[in-house]
Symmetry: C2
Subunit: 712 residues, 2 copies
């Protein structure tokens, strides 16, 4: 158990603001607590002697509680929390609303609350929370209408109303919980804290949640990574779509990070993300009750061919494969199944199958070591006793210890059988696709729990040079930088073409001379974004034309935009685009997750085809390798259609080095290397654009230890 | 009503093979028919005087029936069907199994059955069918355990077991049907026939089905197009995935067409394709009971912010948009909602909302002409009576005539309300995503029902020249053709570069001379597929080098593959690839749907990025235009990133002309124009490859009237 143990299993709970008043929140909570709590409930209310028959104390100081639930009006809530802190309570749940969710006065009040919590080192839930409940000791410290059934899922939600809906539904379905937390405004404790707590809780087998935002992305990733090596975390994070993000932002009042960052960050955190309530609970129920499969191959045993085909489609949509049976299995099926049957997967044991034939087929399939899990699929027939089939399924599942999903199709005929199955932790669905999705969640979690997270590589770089180059932006008071910052990449070991920036024609010539072959020349100006459009780029310039080309480029730029600041002309080695593939490596800084790295196909395809992939920095070698393999155009990099494969390791190293750069310098707000030309022998950054936070750079020294450790 | 009216509403049904024997199919059907049928049941069995108390006749000739249900053994089934035909019956349901599904003997028997049916012009269902039922006159001519409740959906299934499962489930859910057909082996009547029949049936509001294959693709498209202008058709077509297709093929024993052809064909047919059983019924229930929205904008009215955000995500996933309210609506919400609420969409009427506030908000939203449909979303609270909310929802839906979806979240608290809603045809879901998907199905069907199908354009082409060119393949006894068939494209008006095929160096030179600028030269040989790899392509050849280049190309080809048949060297005008976009236009012939046209991004991207789109030919102008706009790279064609837009009309015309060519010549099995270079001023086919069915070409004259009319 973690440090929040007493939040969920306190000895004495003080309800500050407890009251008998009908319809009040203070009464609802006190009643809920009094109903089943194994510990002591202490009403706190200076105006009353007793509440609901329990003696009342005047203040927290007299309560001697280890958990305080605060239901007083907002104007006095902060003071009450301070008293709680003074009384030595460590855990506080603030039900009271009227904080950050209500505008600037509320936000100020929430800030006060946070600082009081910090002063007294309080583990504070809320404010604006429905409360907390834990079935371990029967504590329902919420003002919702329902208590939860006991179970092994723990559930957090940023919406209190959603908790009331879920509990009503779950009680009906026989689904139970260990702990339930309404996160409220998350002034102190947030989702990462509960993931961490429940990760340490031997009574929590699955962590589920509904979130509209994540407070600190990197903290969440690092926490959840560790927890999900053992305990599955399944979350709905809403605001997935543009419309949803806008609604989330207006609901919680906080600036939403990009969906791209959430999608990437949640995946890196090992979270199974559900897109809907149905997906959330379908996955959670299976993860709570079924073992993980040894392999990803499923056997489908069915008495009906059509639904067998439908189920196979669902397998095709999932991470699962259709198991190929061993010779022994095929022999056994050949012997026991009628000729019209199908001994291959999906196994059709035919509509006249009785319970004995079904049981034997299941036993054979579960015994095949090529089979990781089994879907039991059945349509009602006159010769089949569904309840018996359910009992056989349950006992064979236990005997073989492999995960089993059930799709006993039907209505009234299925009810009793479904009860038997669900009692044993095998959810039954009418739709085979949902049963298969359950097995898919097991495979997904198996993959997550076996991930090995390496530390990011720390390359030997020249941080001082990088700092000096970024400093030029401050000197010029101009946040945007272009090719003039190519040396920034060089300082971090990212290969750039030979050349440099000349500030007069003679310098241009002396830069060009040592370069083998013709050169590329580009005007350098932060004020001219689309250089090609104004004739600001010259390709294939022989040495003898460099001098004139310099003057020509500068003249064109001046004519085009007389007030443009011109930093010079870049003279660069020609990069052979024909043998290479143009890629892009970029970063933009997300408010929740920090630097979000991007890799994709470059050139005009970046914008049109959006063939890109993302990771939250710092990016490890494994992650960088994954990125180069994830884009749709990955086969191009690896040598499709008889082309020479490019050096993907060099690309992956560039991603990591850029990751190190943007982690070292939080002042870099966004940066694109476009194109990074990936070639058979290496990779070269041909152009760069970045934006610097001038204020941030001014104050912040590069940190000595810059990389976030995975265990932080 | 269509010509199958008497199949579903006969006066007298003969059961050939009726019997009292316990557990037999003949008894089950007779019992089911006797249960509720309003007409007369005539058992036919020469060995019995009566069956289940009904007098039995010896043969069909004595039955005087208008529908025969055949449950005799397979050995006599064909003979019985012949007798039925002789007796003047028009409709026959063959329950008997042991036909095409059982191997070559069975297949021969099925062929016999088909020819008897043809001889007597019988509308024959099956063989290998569970039977047919219709609630109109209480006729259950199936051997399943359940009858259906009356309703306004008609349902066909290629799996009989799936029907038994669905009926058991639907009866439990209160979902009813008009007609239900187990299609069996589809020896005569197939899915298109029932779509057509139910399209004409005023008592069928929605057609649903489970299919593993479609017999005749083009017939199905043409039939369903017409029906879906009025009546929604929702289908699960399994075998979507590779695994599923394999399972379907082993289940039904028929060669499955490509999933690509099914996906394309079903969409062109106006079918709403469901991927799972849940999707099938969720869509069907809404389409059965709710009106179509006037516009695609939804208003969400909720008493809980979090679920409001989740629902907005579901809207973001759908075809729906979030409605922007009129000023009047916003004013009304401002007046009636508390300050913590949200007057914008999703409208948060806050957790303390009572029924009056909910009702008013719904009324306001439904009254806004910017709102096409409404999602009523609610979490249980102490101040809200769910049943009353359900009644209000139902009456407001009726009053405003706009579609409404409901997500009353919860369990036991929702039951009574859900009954009220479902009674009125408003399905209630725990998961807001499913409620939104229901509205999405309405919008999808609105789009389908408003489609205007144009006839394919018939271009003026030179069919005789085309025939002559294809004939060369027969002469050479070589099904594959390459650049030597460029004139085939020219004959159908598809622009090709200037040039031709030379068979000696002098001819090469005389082909090159009239061409402006340098030329491209390529070896022409059906035996050399990858010409570039062997140095068989020369780009940018000036006139003075053409003679030598000819000899060089031929020498290289001979060295590479001494036995290769060399048809000559192609001399072609250079096409400027820089200003153009390489695309591909292709066709392959699908066993079910016929010529499947493909359009996509060309070059190396075809294989790697698979940026392609498809249509079943003949392709109309509208469809060709859609194709050029559907690929991911479409913005490139239309001039992304400051490039000049290419002539997409020329591309669309090429697609149509190729569609006409492959429709005219069924002998063309596959054909790729790769690349078709799309340029600002037009499009040019630079290379072609095709495969010809030599036998087909030998026998078939091009048809006089080649285009399938949409109303066939």
């Amino acid at each position: 158990m973690g440090e929040l143990a007493a939040l969920f299993a306190p000895e004495r709970v003080a309800v500050v603001g407890a009251t008998d008043r009908e319809g009040s929140v203070g009464r609802a909570i006190t009643e809920n607590l009094l109903a089943d709590f194994e510990g002591t409930v202490v009403p706190v209310n200076p105006k009353r002697d007793e509440v609901l028959g329990r003696p009342c104390v005047a203040s927290m100081k007299e309560a001697d509680a280890d958990l305080a639930v605060v239901v007083v009006p907002p104007s006095v809530a902060v003071e009450v929390v301070r008293e709680a802190g003074e009384s030595g309570v460590q855990h506080v749940v603030v039900i009271t609303a009227g904080f950050g969710e209500t505008g600037s006065d509320g936000a100020a009040r929430e800030e006060e609350l946070r600082s009081v919590a910090e002063e007294y080192d309080l583990n504070l839930v809320g404010p604006n929370s429905l409360g907390v409940l834990s079935t371990r000791r029967g504590m329902n410290a919420t003002f919702g209408p329902d208590n939860a059934l006991p179970g092994r899922m723990s559930f957090m939600s940023q919406s209190g109303a959603f908790i009331t809906a879920v509990l009503d539904w779950a009680n009906d379905q026989g689904i139970g919980f260990k702990d339930v937390v309404s996160l409220g405004n998350k002034a102190v404790l947030d989702e990462a804290d509960f993931v961490s707590e429940w990760g340490d809780d031997p009574e929590t087998d699955v962590i589920i949640g509904y979130l509209e935002g994540i407070e600190e992305g990197r903290k969440f990733i690092d926490t959840a990574r560790e927890v999900t090596q053992e305990t599955p975390v399944v979350l709905v994070k809403s605001g997935r779509t543009d419309a949803g993000a806008q609604a989330a932002s207006s609901h919680t009042g906080t600036l939403a990070g990009s969906e791209q960052a959430y999608e990437t960050g949640l995946d890196q955190a090992g979270v199974i993300r559900a897109d809907s309530v149905q997906e959330l609970f379908d996955a959670a129920r299976v993860l709570e009750s079924q073992p993980l499969p040894e392999n990803d191959e499923v056997a489908i045993i069915t008495n009906a061919g059509g639904p067998g085909v439908m189920s196979t489609d669902a397998v095709g949509d999932s991470r699962l494969g259709m198991a190929s049976f061993s010779e022994e299995t095929l022999d056994a099926f050949s012997e026991s199944l009628p000729e019209e049957g199908n001994i291959y997967n999906p196994v059709d044991i035919v509509g006249d199958a009785d319970n004995a034939r079904f049981e034997e087929a299941l036993d054979v399939a579960l015994g095949d070591e090529n089979v990781g899990c089994v879907l039991v699929l059945s349509c009602p027939t006159a010769v089949l006793d569904y309840e018996q089939l359910a009992r056989d399924t349950v006992s064979l599942q236990e005997e073989h210890g492999k995960p089993v999903a059930a799709c006993f199709m039907g209505g009234a005929r299925v009810e009793a059988a479904a009860d038997v199955l669900e009692e044993a932790g095998i959810p039954n669905y009418f739709d085979p696709a949902r049963a298969v999705e359950g097995l898919d969640a097991l495979v997904r979690f198996k993959e997550i729990s076996r991930r090995e997270y390496d530390d990011p590589t720390t390359f030997d770089v020249d941080r001082e040079v990088a700092r000096e180059i970024l400093g030029r932006a401050v000197e010029r008071d101009e946040p945007r930088m272009g090719v003039e910052a190519m040396d920034l990449l060089d300082a971090y070991g990212i290969p750039i073409p030979e050349g440099g920036i000349a500030t007069d024609p003679t310098e241009a010539l002396s830069l060009a001379e040592p370069i083998d072959g013709d050169v590329v020349m580009k005007i350098v100006s932060p004020d001219i974004l689309h250089k090609s459009d104004i004739g600001g780029v010259r390709v294939g310039v022989p040495n003898e034309e460099v001098y004139d080309a310099y003057e020509d480029l500068v003249t064109r730029a001046r004519n085009y935009q007389p007030d443009a600041e011109i930093l010079g002309v870049q003279v660069q080695e020609m990069v052979d685009l024909d043998s290479g593939v143009e890629t892009i490596v970029g970063m933009n800084r997300d408010p929740q997750f920090g630097p979000l790295m991007m890799f994709g196909l470059g050139g005009i395809f970046v914008e049109v085809l959006e063939d890109t992939t993302f990771r939250v920095a710092p990016v490890t070698e494994t992650e960088a390798d994954e990125m180069t393999g994830e884009i749709n155009a990955a086969p191009l990099l690896r040598g499709a259609r008889g082309r020479d494969p490019v050096d993907v390791d060099a690309v992956a190293e560039t991603i990591q080095r850029l990751s190190q750069l943007v982690t070292d310098f939080p002042a870099i707000l966004e940066l694109d290397i476009n194109p990074l030309v990936a070639m058979p022998g290496g990779a070269q950054a041909v152009d760069v654009r970045l934006t610097v936070d001038l204020d941030e750079l001014d104050v912040e020294e590069p940190k000595e230890k810059t990389l976030t450790e995975p265990d932080q």
